[in-house]
């Protein structure tokens, strides 16, 4: 599993992992935007920081595969 992650990361930084990088970056930006709004919004309510970070990471992390489901690997 670590081999796969390492190999994908190498391909990614060479720019050869995705067949449609524009789609990937657009969806990634959308996900980051939603996640940041969630984190900052929860944070500004004054809840405990551990709770805020756990919730926003969980939600954003579960959202990413759905956002990136049409990404094409080479």
């Amino acid at each position: 599993m670590l081999d796969l992650a390492w190999y994908s990361a190498k391909l990614f930084f060479k720019g050869k992992l995705f067949r449609n990088p524009g789609y990937f970056y657009r969806q990634l930006t959308l996900g980051v935007l939603i996640g940041s709004l969630l984190l900052v919004g929860l944070g500004e309510t004054g809840l405990n920081l551990a709770f805020v970070i756990t919730i926003s990471s969980l939600v954003t992390g579960m959202m990413m595969p759905f956002l990136l489901k049409d990404v094409k690997m080479k």
Partner: protein, 89 residues
């Protein structure tokens, strides 16, 4: 072992770290801690999301591995941006 515990509990910078951690104060050290924490949570969450999305088509293990690659890709920028915004706004 007791020496180690004594050292850790009497070291002011480590005490400060835990105080900041509990109080939700964002400093460089607690920021790095929260970033790592968010990365671990997002790998778990990404694996769950991947299994929900494609567990039946890809097989549960492959879906979980792909999901746990996609999760941190989104969450690490979120945590970095969010912590900086929370610190300065």
């Amino acid at each position: 072992m007791t020496d180690l515990i004594g050292y850790v509990s009497s070291n002011p910078s480590i005490q400060g770290f835990f105080t900041n951690l509990m109080a939700g104060e964002i400093t460089l050290i607690t920021g790095i801690f929260w970033l790592l924490f968010a990365a671990v949570i997002s790998m778990i969450a990404g694996a769950i999301g991947g299994i929900i999305l494609a567990g039946k088509d890809l097989g549960y293990e492959l879906a979980a591995i792909l999901g746990s690659l996609f999760g941190p890709a989104g969450v690490i920028p979120v945590a970095a941006i969010g912590l900086v915004v929370l610190k300065f706004v």
